[in-house]
Symmetry: C2
């Protein structure tokens, strides 16, 4: 497999775009990525598009071709992929593989989702499990429900506190206040988080990510092509994709997909968690980030609560986590989230992250999980990037 | 790139399955393919799933993981792809590429769609173009509309007759009557086709494919793995994927994606149309098959009507086309169609096609097109298989 670099990044701010089409939102991200890379549209030889659930509005099918047509790119192989909440990372990884395997020199991967549109109640409906009403709708096995259950179990088993859970939101919203592309840009205090509206005990509103509209795109290139276009390539040191079952073992305190995925990713990169300068992880709920610290090897099992409390995931700490603001600030724009995480890592590794810059960052890990509780299905994609 | 063989095939009959889940339908195909290949589920290292539009019913997301979980396969990379009407071929091609590039030895590709379910009116809605009502809904630029327009243009320009168009349906329905997996198994006469209900002039009902429910699966293997499991490998001599615009040039009598795709496929296989023993092409409407004859090089431009009239696409002719019965008999089960075409070629190349067997068949071409008229987007996947 050949070395592959990310040479261009572009994203929309995540938010509410009621007056824009899905295509238009995606184009903004792709155009920004193309400009950032300094390439021409015709340099792109292959593309993957990530989009979860937009067909209801007749917009999502063949979305890759639809977006690229507007950029004057009409003949190349284009494929849409879906992998639950890891959809964007999947588009990235497919494009990476094609460049790594030598099929092309320059590829585009983008992800897009528009969740604030008419009919979007149906999109949320899928997460409550129309197929398995006895588990999802009736038993409360919705996403907030299961992450609250995991939080309670973590509290019971490891002494994790409500305050520690809330600190994840405080940290990420503070980072979000430094990221103009975040959806929620107001920092929040610990008291605010603890006293906000309870969604599912112990998770209050700021500990649950919002949804949103938006897109994110990257340009990938072979080593030779990267040398032509950029002096700041960011290399893909590892890219791993595993599937699994949603956390349904007795403990409910870890994600098997994370643990296996991380092990493979570190092995592929020839690096360990001690080599990471920062990470973007899938903080759909505060519980998730604490568990990811442990599953990704940043700390031992059960220490996730203390990890955030001691500032080890903050700027200046052991591994600053979610300096973009994470899903808790940006929102989980399902089809775009994974590439949005990658964009933050690239900004940091280029030294372009402004007030939230991790000084001297050389290696970053991106983690994007996906799964549907009501169907016991999960996947996880982990990429390690380095400059 | 390494040589890749198809070592297992399995499909459901296409039809109406109101009492079965999407997962169940897909499992039937996957289990049949696994048994046909003589492998164990744990031999599968990677999988791609094709499904166009099932999320409305909460069933399609992460469909690959969902189906494989039931087969006891829970840890491998699994991805769902979508590429319009070429969705299944796309799943096939992605899996082929991974084996060819050396990422794994054995891979599964399957496609599934369930169009006869509550809410399926919405699925049909996407083809009438909610985004572009002025073109689709209002101007009649639906699929039957545009294929009728192309037929009229072909008649005007090349003297193609209503009878020749109808002969495509007569031939394919006769083949369908020999295929127990087809949805429509009653042969029809020329008079019946000509006098049936007019859908859009000149296309009568039997010249328009039905929709349906069903699934199709194949097992792909490297040369070394194929040698372990089968004595009848069918090799992938070429696999090509191109995108383009829907036929919107002035002539309206060819598909640019077909022409470019075929050229690349013949070049990759080192073969020409004269080497083909049979073909499965995307006969969503009778017009399409006549145009595909020309675009794929079976005959010169404008001769498609005579090609079918002279029996050159029939058993014993130059290139028997759609011996499976084609979409006109099987129905277009969007997420499964392409792999269903591949299954027919494999059966023929193994000599297992019964009364519709093409004697001594060694090389077959599969063509699957996709596109949405109302969004000017198209793609085309062509595979050439040989024994």
């Amino acid at each position: 497999m050949r070395e592959v670099a990310i040479i261009g990044i572009g994203g929309t701010r995540f938010g509410k775009y009621l007056d824009r089409s899905l295509t238009d939102i995606a184009q903004e991200a792709c155009i920004k990525a193309i400009r950032d890379a300094g390439i021409r549209p015709r340099d792109i030889e292959l593309a993957y598009a990530g989009n979860l659930a937009q067909w209801e509005w007749g917009q999502g099918l063949l979305i890759g071709q639809l977006v690229l047509r507007e950029l004057g790119i009409t003949r190349i192989p284009v494929t849409r992929v879906e992998n639950g909440c890891a959809t964007a990372s999947c588009a990235f990884r497919e494009a990476w593989f094609r460049v790594a395997a030598g099929e092309c020199e320059v590829a585009l991967a983008f992800g897009v989702e528009q969740m604030n549109v008419a009919g979007s109640d149906k999109m949320l409906g899928i997460f409550t499990g129309p197929q398995y009403p006895e588990r999802a709708g009736d038993m409360g096995f919705t996403a907030p429900g299961i992450f609250a259950l995991m939080a309670r179990r973590h509290m019971e088993e490891f002494g994790t506190t409500r305050e520690q859970l809330a600190m994840v939101a405080v940290k990420n919203r503070r980072f979000g206040s430094m990221n103009p592309e975040a959806q929620l840009t107001r920092a929040v205090t610990l008291e605010e988080v603890l006293n906000d509206r309870m969604i599912v005990d112990p998770l209050t509103l700021p500990q649950c990510c919002p949804r949103g509209d938006g897109a994110a795109a990257v340009i990938l290139a072979s080593k030779a092509a990267a040398a032509r276009f950029t002096t700041q390539p960011v290399w893909v040191a590892a890219s791993i994709h595993v599937s699994g079952l949603y956390p349904n073992d007795a403990s409910y305190t870890y994600f098997d997909t994370d643990v296996r995925g991380a092990r493979k990713a570190y092995e592929m990169a020839g690096l360990g968690p001690e080599d990471l300068d920062l990470a973007e992880v899938h903080d759909c709920f505060s519980t998730a980030e604490i568990i990811h610290y442990e599953d990704l090897g940043f700390c031992a099992k059960g220490e996730g609560g203390r990890f955030v409390e001691e500032g080890r995931s903050d700027l200046g700490g052991q591994v600053p986590v979610n300096t973009s603001g994470g899903l808790l600030s940006k929102g989980h724009v399902i089809g775009a989230t994974g590439i949005s995480q990658i964009i933050e890592l690239v900004r940091q590794l280029r030294g372009q992250a402004g007030p939230r810059q991790v000084e001297g960052a050389r290696v970053g890990l991106q983690h994007n999980g996906g799964g549907f509780i009501h169907t016991d299905t999960a996947c996880c994609i982990i990429n390690i990037l380095k400059r």
